[in-house]
């Protein structure tokens, strides 16, 4: 069997080399699809059409299957994130302690609903299933950093700080 030659990188952006590295590490096996998509998302922040096409082609996975995987898992995002991200945990413990009110307050403040980014691209608002820090509920992640026992006021202040940046 001739050695497999993967397709050329889409551009000379260095991040593609990282993506390619993950695939090479897994011998360009089809089962490396999810691992590779993780690398794309952590390098680029989201998965755009070019990235999905490139990964599908490199791993010889049908494009429909790659797209199916991307849309099946909540962790993957098809849209670029804002400059800052406010993630509100909506796990049970946080819900019991009122993150639904936090979410409503943030939606009102930013004028967007969860899963969206403000029109100026400054702030994304997302809801997480459970980040496993239930002992500190209610919990939010400000740019990925975990903050426990959050109050509406604290959260709004954070959003205001981001808005003026």
């Amino acid at each position: 069997m001739p050695a497999y030659t993967p397709p050329p990188l889409p551009s000379d952006d260095k991040r593609w080399k990282i993506v390619n590295g993950t695939m090479r590490k897994n011998g360009f096996a089809r089962h490396a699809l999810i691992e590779t998509l993780h690398t794309v998302q952590s390098s680029f922040g989201y998965l755009d059409d070019d990235a999905i096409r490139f990964v599908a082609l490199s791993l010889r996975v049908p494009l429909s299957q790659a797209y199916g995987v991307v849309t099946f898992y909540h962790y993957f995002s098809l849209k670029p994130p804002g400059k800052h991200t406010m993630t509100i945990c909506s796990g049970t413990a946080c819900y019991i302690k009122g993150t639904d009110k936090l979410l409503a307050a943030a939606e009102k403040k930013l004028g967007i609903s969860q899963g969206q980014t403000t029109p100026d691209g400054a702030i994304s608002l997302t809801a997480a299933r459970c980040v496993g820090a239930c002992g500190r509920a209610p919990v939010v992640l400000t740019d990925g950093e975990l903050v426990g026992q959050m109050t509406s006021q604290q959260m709004i202040e954070q959003l205001e700080r981001w808005a003026v940046e």
Binding site: E35, H74, F76, A93, Y95, K97, G135
Partner: protein, 547 residues
């Protein structure tokens, strides 16, 4: 690596730490880290140097009492400090060898005395990224003993004798599962550790992986030896970055020490482990869906049989156990199956870790012997409901479990007892609710969860949960009728009995259990248009105005 070499490492490590007058352990689990316990640790180390004391400052995993974090434990005096911050470092270091700092001291005897730590025996005691500290506490002794002195059948016999049942929620006897995989015919077999802890409100697995990753790796290696596998996968949620990081460090160290890789313990046994990241799908906790996800596909369950034990990952015989199950293996091999079986209740042996959260004073992680009453966990260990509120319900088993009222608190915690009263053991989430929670709303919350997490394969689950959600939303909005309740009960029955996997089969549990124990709240919503907890937003009933 032989047992003698292991002993030498253990001796050397213990001697190293014996040089210090005190050991100051700083909790650096996710909970305490979010309150900057890393800065506290640095400050403590600086103070030790400044004050010229002979003290070792250690990073440890979770100490359990997340509510009171950041936590600091001073050994050998066993003094626990709560809510310790950077500014307290000077006082804490100055107090070593003298009187403890009174205002920070945490004196919760009731919380700790009732607990029995097997899975958590090293949590908060060892540095999770130092394999030698694990070895100093008898780590990897079980693996090397099994490899040199026991046959694979002997290992399975001990696990069977221990009565250990799967800690992921199903409660299937672990020894039986191992036996099936070991008897399955195949040149290649796999061991998978299920760390896809998707239950919202549960964080036992995260904590074990963050606090004592070597214990899970050792458990997996013993399992691999018993069933004849040479390759393992740990499937961890991508939402747990710290757990992934510590596992990676743990695997690297274990390979370096020759405890993973080829010819472990100078025997023909070879085993290595790879990490696979989950991508946020609750259904991937189901074993066939998890296997599909490792294979790089959508995580959709398959009908069983064939069970993964016969045809699992890439069609090969595969053993899948939960993180906590693997964490129990090393102590069982070290101390014997009989020792483990001496704890717990009749058909549920050993201990269980619970994540105690919600409206309760001492939120955090607790490990208790099976058979202990819910009341003892909630009122004594958990310290009861805070702020003068009244206990209303405890939810066990996550979205697949049920809500139990006050009258059920005296049952002993075991797989069978919880099932009998309409809930399940689940993976160990325990969420306490008080009078500010509306049970109809809670049922709606869980159904919404199952609705969005349904993989869409079977219609009863995909469409049934959506219909249930619509009906519950109607009741919460004050527009429900009594016929809706009948419809809900009928629909629950359909979803429960005709879904393929555990997600659909158990999705109606929160609705059925709240209907059983809190029916009056549903009736109140429908007939009086009233939500006593004040959660649901509904129009008040038109009151009759006396003429």
């Amino acid at each position: 690596m032989t047992i003698e070499e292991l002993d030498q490492i253990a001796e050397a490590t213990r001697a190293e730490y014996a040089k210090f007058d005190h050991e100051v352990n700083v909790c650096m689990g996710t909970g305490c880290l979010s309150q900057h316990s890393d800065q506290l640790k640095d400050a403590l180390a600086k103070q030790v140097e400044a004050q010229g004391k002979n003290v070792y400052v250690r990073r440890t995993g979770c100490m359990g009492l997340c509510a009171a974090g950041p936590l600091v434990l001073v050994d050998p005096e066993e003094i626990l400090y709560q809510q310790a911050h950077e500014k307290h470092a000077e006082a804490i270091v100055a107090s070593l060898g003298g009187e403890p700092v009174k205002e920070l001291q945490c004196d919760l005897r009731d919380h700790f005395d009732q607990q029995v730590h097997v899975v958590l025996e090293n949590s908060g005691q060892v540095d999770p990224e130092k394999i030698d500290e694990y070895i100093a506490r008898d780590g990897y002794r079980a693996l090397l003993t099994a490899l040199s002195d026991m046959t694979p059948q002997g290992v399975i016999r001990q696990v069977t004798e221990s009565g250990l049942r799967g800690r992921g929620g199903g409660g299937y006897p672990t020894g039986l599962k191992w036996g099936t995989v070991s008897k399955a015919v195949g040149d290649v077999k796999y061991v998978i550790c299920n760390g896809d802890e998707g239950d919202p409100g549960a964080f036992m697995d995260r904590s074990v992986l963050e606090s004592d990753p070597q214990r899970v790796i050792e458990g997996m290696a013993i399992a691999a030896y018993a069933v004849g596998a040479s390759k393992g996968y740990i499937y961890v949620r991508a939402e747990y970055p710290l757990a992934v990081q510590r596992l990676q460090a743990g695997l690297r160290d274990a390979r370096r020490r020759g405890l993973l890789g080829n010819n472990i313990g100078n025997t023909p046994f070879s085993f290595d482990v790879e990490i696979r990241l989950g991508a946020g799908a609750f259904v991937c906790g189901e074993e066939t869906a998890l296997i599909a996800s490792i294979e790089g596909r959508r995580g959709m369950p398959k009908p069983r049989p064939p069970y993964p034990a016969v045809a699992g990952l890439w069609g090969k015989p595969t053993l899948i156990n939960n993180v906590e199950t693997f964490a129990n293996i090393a102590p069982i091999i070290r101390k014997g199956g009989k020792w483990f079986a001496s704890m717990g209740s009749d058909r549920s042996k050993g201990t269980k870790v619970f994540a105690l959260t919600g409206k309760i004073t001492n939120t955090g992680l607790v490990e208790v012997p099976m058979g202990i009453s819910l009341r003892q966990i909630i009122e004594v260990i958990g310290g009861g409901v805070p702020d003068g509120h009244k206990f209303k319900a405890v939810q066990t088993g996550g979205p697949s479990g049920g809500c139990l009222p006050e009258s059920m608190l005296d049952i002993g915690v075991s797989y069978d007892a919880l099932l009998k009263v309409g809930s399940i053991m689940g993976s160990g989430g325990m969420i306490v609710m008080d009078d500010t929670s509306c049970m109809v709303n809670v049922a709606k919350f869980f159904i919404e969860f199952c609705m969005t997490e349904s993989c869409g394969k079977c219609i009863p689950c995909r469409a049934g949960t959506a219909q249930l959600h619509a009906l519950l939303s109607k009741i919460c909005a004050g527009e429900g009728t009594m016929e809706d309740v009948e419809l809900i009960e009928d629909l629950c029955d359909t979803v429960k009995s005709s879904s393929l996997c555990g997600l659909g089969q158990t999705a109606p549990n929160p609705v059925l259990s709240t209907l059983k124990y809190f029916r009056h709240e549903y009736i109140d919503h429908i007939q009086n248009k009233r939500c006593t907890a004040g959660v649901c937003n509904m129009k008040p009933a038109e009151q009759e105005v006396p003429a």
